[in-house]
């Protein structure tokens, strides 16, 4: 069973973009990208799937904003690593996200290379946590 990466963004084309840009890459063969257009559906998906390793959250969304969702995830599923992906990449937002437990922040428009690296790093980190390897002994990418 493939591990899952939950992508939450209100843009429909996002799914297509991620699939085309990352889903085809060899590195992510072990992973399945699952998509949610709203925060609420994301919460139900979190309940449905217990094998979600990573979540990629947009901030500006219609029903529930990404920062609230981040907090929800961090309090209910502390093992899920969260990457914030947003156009609102000002210092205040970044600071909020990081303090709420996000592992990284990716600015829109997405630099695919950058996002790929971030994902790789996060997957690595996630794996290491599962193997109980301390953060400072993590191997660099």
């Amino acid at each position: 069973m493939k591990r899952k990466i939950l992508v939450v963004d209100d843009e429909k084309d996002y799914e297509s973009l991620i699939n085309q840009a990352l889903g085809v890459k060899k590195y992510f063969r072990e992973y399945k990208f699952i998509y949610s257009l709203t925060g609420n559906s994301a919460i139900s998906m979190l309940k449905d799937y217990d094998d979600i390793d990573i979540a990629m959250l947009d901030i500006n969304m219609p029903d529930m904003d990404g920062l609230s969702l981040l907090k929800y995830i961090k309090s209910n599923y502390p093992n899920i690593q969260v990457i914030m992906v947003s156009a609102y990449n000002d210092n205040a937002n970044i600071l909020l996200a990081m303090n709420a437990g996000a592992i990284d922040f990716v600015a829109k428009p997405i630099d695919i290379k950058n996002l790929e690296n971030t994902l790789k790093k996060t997957i690595n980190h996630s794996e290491n946590i599962k193997l109980n390897i301390p953060y400072d002994q993590e191997s660099p990418l």
């Binding site: 843009e11 084309d13 085309q20 840009a21 156009a87 000002d90 600015a107 829109k108 428009p109």
Partner: protein, 721 residues
């Protein structure tokens, strides 16, 4: 007539005893002095009866008593005979005897007793003389007066109407005269109250005093005052009479002084008048002590002096003195007539010997002259009143005119002030308008900033797809091109199309990136000031920034040997600002400065090389304005950055000798997205960002001075606090 009497008296005096003949005429009077025979009556021991019984024992002698002898009681006697055809009333009087009893004994030994004298309370001084009879008249008198001896012992006899008739007549005339004078006194008092001219008050007092004097003066009969108020006491009327006789002339003198203003105009005479007034007081005291009996000479003196003053002043052109002179003439005339009365000289000989004539011959004439004077003077004072009123009106008019002049000048002043104020207002209105415009501008900028931020963020989402999908497309197409499993012939056929699509994808991607940089610039604009303020050294910041900009610029345009100068003011204190913001501002301005230098150089080259390089800047609107410019042959691009202190501010000037800013676009340079750089080279956000930071972030000012084709100078003022 008088002379006849004197002759008769003269002849008669040779006889044993002088006989007074009462002539057959309507009016007659005589004053007996020498005609009287005198007998001393020490301690009043000799009675009339003993005199009559023993005429030989008491020899009478001629009236030649010396001064010292006049200290006791005396008897005087004379004979009286009327040759008139009618029984006539004869009045006896004496001005100097304090008390005297007159015994008239006719041929039938019938005795009539009269009482006369200035201090006699109940005067009985009339006697009906029957023609043809000889009367022996005995007078018992004493006098304390020490005036001239002969004068002291005298007796006046005159024909009169009966007391009742005469009194009725004199009262009638006196009443009219006194009434007129009293009215005039009130009139002058009214004038005084109305215009507050002190001379009216004094004249009123003077007139009132005359009235009191007149009612208290007794001539042949008791005075009105005595008759009405003090029938049993002669001393009080005597006192009042002399008090007011003297006070009248004091008031008169004071009035003359005030009216003629002698104090200023004739100081010597003024002192003389005051002196005479003093004499009047002295005279009053002397009269009370019985040392003198009359002060009329003092009155004459004071009237004369005042009249003289009036004449002098009239000659000097003091017009109201004219009235004074004429009025005084009445007084002088009155005094003259009275003097004549005392001296037995009839100055009014031309008047008929009727009641009115007799009235005027007596001291009552003073009443009349006084009244006439008062009437005349009141008119004079009335005219003065009018002239004073006129003066007051003239003064009023003058004041009015002055007021109007003042008003006019004040109006002018006011107008000037209004004008100045209006100018000020217009100025401040202009300033206000400017400020308003700036406010609107900055408000616009602010809302534009917010809008920009919103737009920028939202644009980034679609941009995300544009950039990434174009990129993916390119990759996918590249893969297709490389894919060996595909049909070769087909591949050859579609290859050009694939290439085309790849190329297009690249173009889309490039433009997407361009949008990205624009959006990032816009976001910098709306960036919320989360950066912290720190104490910043302006000079070192300037140096760092210009170094950075210079090297970046040099890397881009290697051919141009640009220089820069740094002129820092070492005294500038560190100030608390956001350092990155200052960096950003300086960087934007300095970059522009270098760009302007390069542009000028380019224009110079273009100018020389004609059309060769023109195409490179065709999109620049600057070109149009620069074609005509004459450039120095050797152009040395230079940027100078200087700092200095001005009151309240730190000033940074960035001066370049570049192409300058054309006038029409000078106002637009701080607007967002306004740029003169070719597309792709500038976003048009640099200066607008700088402007925003300086005005909103630092609370300072960003100005530009510029001479097109020669230089541009940006002046950055940051508050010291």
């Amino acid at each position: 007539m008088l002379s006849l009497i004197f002759i008769l008296l003269f002849f008669d005096s040779f006889g044993e005893r002088a006989t007074v003949i009462i002539p057959n005429s309507a009016s007659w009077s005589v004053k007996l002095v020498k005609e009287l025979e005198i007998l001393e009556n020490p301690n009043k021991t000799i009675t009339l009866d003993s005199l009559l019984e023993h005429p030989d024992r008491y020899p009478f002698s001629k009236n030649n008593l010396t001064h010292d002898q006049l200290r006791s009681h005396y008897w005087a006697k004379f004979k009286m005979l009327s040759i008139s055809q009618l029984e006539e009333w004869t009045t006896f009087s004496s001005d100097f005897w304090h008390n005297a009893s007159i015994y008239i004994i006719d041929s039938s030994q019938k005795k009539t007793i009269l009482a006369i004298g200035v201090l006699e309370a109940k005067q009985k001084n009339q006697f009906l003389v029957i023609p043809g009879r000889i009367y022996n008249v005995y007078i018992s008198f004493n006098s304390q007066s020490s005036v001239k001896l002969e004068e002291n012992i005298n007796l006046k006899i005159k024909k009169t109407l009966s007391t009742l008739e005469w009194n009725a007549y004199t009262r009638y005339l006196d009443g009219i005269v006194l009434g007129i004078m009293f009215g005039l006194a009130l009139y002058n008092l009214f004038l005084f109250i109305s215009i507050k001219e002190i001379s009216y008050l004094w004249y009123s007092i003077y007139t009132l005093s005359i009235v009191i004097m007149f009612v208290s003066i007794s001539l042949d009969s008791p005075s009105h005052l005595q008759e009405i108020a003090f029938p049993d006491n002669a001393k009080i009327p005597f006192f009042i009479r002399h008090l007011f006789v003297n006070f009248t002339w004091i008031a008169y003198g004071q009035f003359a002084r005030v009216y003629l203003n002698t104090k200023n105009q004739l100081p010597v005479f003024d002192k003389l008048i005051v002196l005479t007034m003093g004499l009047d007081i002295l005279g009053f005291i002397l009269i009370l002590n019985g040392i003198i009996t009359r002060t009329i000479f003092i009155h004459f003196f004071i009237v004369t002096i005042c009249l003289f003053c009036g004449i002098i002043l009239y000659k000097r052109g003091y017009k109201i003195a004219r009235f004074f002179i004429v009025a005084q003439l009445f007084v002088v005339l009155g005094l003259l007539i009275v003097s004549g009365y005392w001296l037995q000289i009839d100055f009014l000989f031309f008047l008929p010997q009727n009641q009115l004539g007799n009235y005027l011959r007596t001291p009552s004439t003073l009443y009349v002259s006084g009244a006439l004077e008062s009437i005349f003077f009141s008119f004079a004072l009335g005219s003065k009143y009018n002239s004073l009123q006129k003066d007051i009106e003239i003064v009023k008019l003058e004041k009015e005119r002055e007021k109007q002049i003042l008003l006019k000048s004040q109006n002018e002043l006011l107008e000037l002030e209004v004008k100045a104020r209006t100018e000020e207002l217009t100025k401040s209105l202009d300033i206000l308008k400017n400020t308003q415009a700036q406010l609107i501008q900055s408000e616009k900028m602010a809302s534009l900033g917010q809008l920009t931020a919103g737009i920028a963020h939202e644009i980034q989402n679609p941009l995300n797809f544009i950039n990434n999908f174009s990129s993916i497309n390119k990759d996918v197409l590249a893969e297709i091109k490389e894919d060996t499993s595909l049909n070769l012939t087909l591949k050859e056929e579609i290859k050009p199309f694939i290439d085309q699509v790849i190329k297009n994808s690249v173009i889309i991607n490039n433009h997407g990136n361009r949008i990205d940089s624009i959006v990032k610039g816009m976001l910098l604009h709306s960036r919320s000031g989360s950066s912290k303020k720190e104490l910043t050294d302006i000079n070192s910041t300037c140096e760092e920034t210009i170094n950075l900009a210079f090297h970046a610029f040099k890397a881009k345009s290697k051919s141009l040997s640009t220089t820069y100068e740094l002129k820092p003011d070492p005294g500038i204190p560190r100030i608390s600002i956001v350092k990155e913001d200052l960096n950003r501002v300086l960087l934007n301005i300095i970059n522009n400065a270098f760009y302007a230098c390069a542009e000028r150089n380019l224009i110079a080259i273009t100018h020389r090389n004609s059309e060769l390089l023109r195409s490179e800047i065709t999109k620049s609107s600057l070109e149009v304005y620069h074609e005509e410019l004459i450039l120095p042959k050797e152009y040395q691009p230079n940027v100078i950055i200087s700092t200095r202190m001005i009151p309240g501010f730190i000033e940074i000037r960035i001066l370049d000798n570049g192409s300058g800013i054309p006038l029409p676009i000078r106002e637009k340079i701080f607007q967002p997205f306004f740029t003169t750089k070719p597309a792709g080279l500038g976003t048009g956000l640099g200066l607008s960002l700088a402007y925003d930071i300086v005005t909103k972030g630092f609370g300072g000012k960003l100005e530009v001075r510029c001479d097109e084709g020669n230089y541009t100078e940006f002046i950055l003022s940051i508050p010291k606090i």
